[in-house]
C-alpha cells in the first residue's frame, strides 16, 4: 500500500506550522526560539569571549562552538540527561552547518558558544536547532554572511515529503529522513545527512523541495528578527 495521505492532512511539500521568536533568554548575548509543529528548539549565544584552555585558541580568527542537548522530558520516553554519542554528533554538524556563514576574523583567540536545547521533540530537531541558532547568532550581533535555514526532507513509503514528523519517521513500510541546511542567498548546502535509502534521482528532487522550503523558512526567520528590533527603525 502506498502512502497516499499525510496523517495531519498536510500536502506533501508543506511544512508544519512554524513559530519563531528572537530574544527569549535575557542573560544570553543572543537567543531565539524556533518551533516547527511540535518540535521546539531554544538557542542561546554567549560571546565572543575568551577561550580556555589556551591551546584551543586560534590567533587568526575566533572559534564557533555548538552544543546540542535534548532535555529529558522532550520525548515520550524519558531520555537520560547529559551528553551522548548522538548529541555530540548533532552539535558537530550544527557547528559545521553554521560556520560557513559566521565571520569571526575580528575576534581572534575568542570563542562564540551556541547552546541548542530541545525542549520538545517531534522529529526534525537538528534542523529546528540550526534555524534557532542562526537567529540567535544574528541577535548576538555576530558578523554573518547569511542566515542559515534547515529542514528535513525524506521519503515516506514511496512519496517524497518535506518536514517529516515522528509518526512519519516511524512509518511501518520504511521511511528515509534527510536533514538539509541551506544558505539561501547562494543556495549552498552546509548540512546534508541521510538516514535510510533513496535513489539518486529522488535525492535531487528532494533537495529541490528542501530548497523551496528553506526559502520560506528564511522569510519567517528574518521576520522574527525584524519583530524584535521593530521599535528601533524609523
Amino acid at each position: 500500500m502506498s502512502y497516499t495521505k499525510r496523517k495531519d492532512g498536510r500536502k506533501f511539500d508543506e511544512m508544519r506550522k512554524i513559530k519563531a521568536e528572537v530574544g527569549v533568554i535575557k542573560n544570553a548575548n543572543g537567543s531565539a526560539k524556533f518551533q516547527i509543529g511540535d518540535t521546539i528548539a531554544i538557542a542561546a549565544v554567549y560571546g565572543p569571549r575568551n577561550l580556555y584552555p589556551k591551546f584551543l585558541q586560534n590567533p587568526e580568527e575566533g572559534k564557533l562552538r555548538c552544543n546540542y542537548n535534548m532535555l529529558s522530558f522532550s520525548v515520550d520516553e524519558r531520555i537520560r540527561p547529559g551528553p551522548s554519542r548522538r548529541s555530540k554528533e548533532i552539535g558537530l554538524v550544527t557547528e559545521r552547518a553554521l560556520s560557513p556563514t559566521v565571520n569571526l576574523k575580528e575576534f581572534p583567540n575568542a570563542v562564540v558558544d551556541v547552546f541548542v536545547e530541545i525542549i520538545q521533540a517531534d522529529a526534525g530537531t537538528r534542523c529546528a536547532g540550526i534555524c534557532a541558532a542562526a537567529m540567535a547568532l544574528a541577535d548576538a550581533g555576530i558578523p554573518m554572511k547569511d542566515l542559515v535555514s534547515a529542514v528535513s526532507v525524506g521519503k515516506v513509503g514511496d512519496k517524497l515529503v518535506v518536514d517529516l514528523d515522528k509518526s512519519e519517521e516511524d512509518y511501518e513500510e520504511g521511511a528515509t529522513d534527510m536533514p538539509v541546511a541551506i544558505l539561501p542567498r547562494s543556495d549552498e548546502i552546509s548540512l546534508l545527512q541521510l538516514d535510510g535509502e533513496m535513489e539518486a534521482k529522488e535525492i535531487i528532487k528532494a533537495l529541490e523541495m528542501a530548497k523551496k522550503a528553506c526559502l520560506e523558512l528564511n522569510k519567517i526567520q528574518k521576520e522574527a528578527i525584524r519583530k524584535k528590533y521593530k521599535g528601533e527603525g524609523k
Partner: protein, 225 residues
C-alpha cells in the same frame, strides 16, 4: 549603474542585499560579494554619497583608539591590571600608565585598584590580534568610588548623551545624580538618594529602549519633572 535596494534608515538583517552595482563602496558592518553589498549584522542602512554602512543595533562594543571608556578590574598581573570594557577581550592597563603618581615596583597592586574597582580610562592602542591598551594618565581619568554601574549597548551611547550633551545634562540636573557615560556603553551613576539613583537608571533604560523615537528629550524631561 548601482541600484539601492533598501531605503535609507531601514532595518536589514544579515545576508540581505543592500546595493547592487560597483559604484558604491562598502563601509562598516557590510561586505562586498561580487557586485553586491550585503549586510553583516542587524542594523539600520546608512547611505552617505557612495559609502554604504550599517548602524548596528546589537553586538559588542568595538574598541577604538582614543575612546574614553569605563572599565572594571577583572584580573591583576605583575605588571598591571586586566579590565573588562565590554569587548570580547580584556583590556590591559599597564603599571606605568595606571596613574600620574609614581608607583613603586614592589607596591601591592590591589591597594591601587582592587578587583571589581571601576575606573575611567582611555584606549591608547588596539592591535589586530585583539590586545587593547589603556591609560589613566590624563585629565578626568580616575578611579570611581561607590556608585553603581549599568551596561547599555554601545550603539545607544550617542543617544544617551544627546546633542551637545543635552540629554545627559537633563538627567544630571533633574535627578541630582553624578552620571558618567563611557563610549563602551558602561554608565556609572552615583547619588546620595537611592530614589534619585533609581530614577536615573530608569531614564537611561527608557532611552535605550526608545532610542529611535523622535522628541525623546522632551519625553525624558516630562518624565523627570
Amino acid at each position: 549603474m548601482g541600484k539601492i535596494l533598501v531605503k535609507n534608515k531601514e532595518m536589514v538583517v544579515p545576508g540581505e542585499v543592500i546595493v547592487e552595482g560597483m559604484d558604491y563602496l562598502p563601509a562598516g558592518n557590510v561586505f562586498r560579494e561580487n557586485d553586491k553589498i550585503i549586510a553583516e549584522t542587524i542594523g539600520l542602512v546608512n547611505v552617505d554619497n557612495r559609502l554604504v554602512k550599517l548602524i548596528p543595533l546589537t553586538g559588542f562594543y568595538k574598541a577604538k583608539k582614543n575612546d574614553v571608556v569605563i572599565g572594571q578590574v577583572r584580573n591583576i598581573t605583575f605588571s598591571g591590571w586586566l579590565m573588562d570594557i565590554g569587548c570580547s577581550d580584556l583590556a590591559t592597563l599597564n603599571l606605568r600608565d595606571a596613574s600620574s603618581d609614581f608607583i613603586d615596583k614592589k607596591a601591592d597592586l590591589t591597594k591601587i585598584y582592587n578587583f571589581n574597582d571601576t575606573v575611567i580610562a582611555k584606549i591608547t592602542n588596539v592591535t589586530k590580534t585583539g590586545y587593547i591598551d589603556l591609560t589613566m594618565r590624563g585629565p578626568g581619568l580616575t578611579k570611581l568610588r561607590g556608585g553603581r554601574l549599568i551596561k547599555v549597548a554601545a550603539s545607544k551611547v550617542p543617544r544617551i548623551i544627546g546633542k551637545q550633551g543635552s540629554m545627559i545634562h537633563i538627567i544630571k540636573e533633574k535627578t541630582n545624580c553624578k552620571v558618567i557615560v563611557g563610549q563602551n556603553g558602561f554608565v556609572w551613576i552615583q547619588s546620595e538618594d537611592p530614589v534619585n539613583e533609581k530614577k536615573a537608571i530608569d531614564t537611561i533604560r527608557l532611552i535605550e529602549k526608545e532610542s529611535a523615537t523622535e522628541g525623546l528629550t522632551e519625553k525624558v524631561e516630562g518624565l523627570l519633572k
